[in-house]
């Protein structure tokens, strides 16, 4: 029984952690321009080379 309780609690923690990550990503603007981010990967940055 303690095994189950531990497992459930850790599942809850992992889930909450993932949720927290998503909420952070949302509020830090990472979902504001999905179209632009998809295109940006194609840009070569000469200053990086």
């Amino acid at each position: 029984m303690t095994g189950i309780a531990l497992l459930i609690m850790s599942a809850l923690l992992v889930g909450l952690g993932a949720l927290g990550c998503l909420l952070w990503a949302l509020s830090s603007g990472q979902y504001d321009d999905l179209e632009g981010d998809a295109q940006r990967i194609l840009i070569d940055f000469p200053e990086d080379q």
Partner: protein, 727 residues
Amino acid sequence: MGAIGLSGFRPELADDPSRYLKETSAGEERFDVLVKGARCAGCIAKIERGVKAVPGVREGRLNLSTGKLVVTGKSLKPETILRYIRDLGYDAQPFDAGEMLDAGDREGRFLLRCLAVAGFATVFTMGLTDAIWYGGGDLGGEARRNFFWLAGAVAIPATFYSGQPFFRAAWRSIRAGRAGMDVPISLALILSLGMSIYQTATDGAHTYFDASVMLTFLLLIGRYLDHRLRDRARGAARHLLAMQTLLVRRQAPDGTIQTVPARELMPDDMVMLASGDRAPVNGVLADRGTELDLSLVTGEVLPQAVAQGAVVQAGSVVTGMPVLLRATARVEDSLIADLARLLEAGQQVRNRYVRLADRAARAYVPGVFILSLAVMAGWLIAGAPLATAVTSAITILIITCPCALGLAVPAVQVVATGRLFRKGVFVKSGDALERLAQIEKVVFDKTGTLTVGNPVLCDRERIAPQILNRAARLARASRHPLACALAEAAGPGEAAGDVREVAGSGLERGTGADLERLGSAGWCGAENPGAVQLWYRHGSEAPVGFRFEDRIRPDARALVRDLEAKGLSVEMLTGDVPLIAARIAEEAGIAEWQAAVRPEQKARHLEALANAKIRTLMVGDGLNDAAALAMAHVSIAPGTAADISQKASDMVLRGGDLMPIAEAITVARKARRLVLENFALALAYNLTAIPMAALGMVTPLIAAATMAGSSLLVTLNALRLMGGGKT
């Protein structure tokens, strides 16, 4: 007419840059620019690097979805930044419409956050409780109750957090005395939580913690899709807001020039208009004559020469010499403002349209409440204990919660607008599709809609090639529409170097016997010019005339035939003269047409059609069509249309093809059929679920399975619109 979009406005910001600069928390300055025309990674790189090269700029970041470029740095010069971006080939406007847009963004982000919380809670709660529904017999009462409490501990706060959009909307509609879909939704959510707590506390078998979070999750998906559609519509409205923050150069009596917002102009103020500027207010030319492009006002393609003292209407674009305009009216009394008011009136007419989903809700909501009361009464009459009766009534409310109904419309509309977007039609609102499916008649504007809107040389066979080439050498030095058309007809070649532009007359080079002139009939010494617009004369040779005509779009005829095959009647309204109208109508295969129609007559014609209960699609592009577009049941504007016309219409075409209009009607009709099918599916689900719930046979497992199942079903049904092939 595409050349004169927003670019007609060139706000000079030098005098008052602070109007558009905001201070950031890091102590830097921030300048928001609306960039039009950026599409790809190359555009992003070009614009961001270009802006970075401007002195003072630390960083520029372009949001491709919204077209908003945020420039940060120290002591920014807005005017320089705008010029840099324009030099790169993109249209740029200072962004001053922040309030409204940010509100939209916040709302969308909040919905996403709710969605994330509800999604997490759904998975977690189902993991706990569904284990019990399947193999729960093995669990002892104590463990089982702990499982339920734990599920509740996650589900209750999650439902209250992510159910906020529904609770708020329900509260609003209750206060307004209306019963929207949100009332039964909120009630079902709260009651299912309450009943689950009661069941857990009394060691009952049926808790609905998982059902309540899943309900929230599924409903939020529909709500978010709907929000995305509306947000796009708001994005389109932004461009008009940018237009209204126009700045103009006013000349004070002592000759100094100030930059002021156009709305502060008073009658008798002097406004300086450079070539390319659009007149912000009605007025008269104070210092000299010039040439005006009236295409947005009257739909006429060719610039008109006007003399000093001539009356100029707001919206006209100066294409000739820079002039001083003496204002005769304020902005709100000028032509554009008149149109804006007409637009508003039209939009109010349109707001009377009741969306399919709302019509469904009106029938659905009272029905569900009456039903659940009837079931409760039935159990009590049959002598069942109060707890059983209340449980059954609540189960009905939970199971009939319009989950599938909430998805039925937005799912279809998102798929439909996505498909149309790929075909080159930008749909601004979901209910525009519903209205488009109902039309019986299509009314076209001529210039710029059925036709290309640019003059094309029409009698080149008659003209000797060497004369055409010599004339083209002159023409390439000018940006006058006729000169451009001539240069295009002659093909690529070199431009003459020493060309002088004589305002109101034309172009000339050389002297004496080698004098070459390209311009108006009188200036080139042509007699009996007739309908020939442009003349060329070399020395003492006889002048040669070039005749230009507007050309019909290549797919106009096919479109008209397609529309008629769909059972729609087609009509053409134009402000042009009957002779040209008759030719274009014949070429397009339109039997019913009217020529020499003024803008207000167009709008009245559309109103008359609406009063006769004929639902009409209006397709038009000019400023003169804007009122008619707003008045029509539904309207489409080509992508080259005036901004105000794009604002007034429900859909905007990308590119120069007309055929997407036929596609849009096909998709709209299919979408309507799918929405009705989805309603039928949701109804069928309820018809099977309600009797079971009334008899107390619904277990939480069945509730969860059927709710998810019906939502999945309507979504899959909506996806059928995606493939579709060619129809």
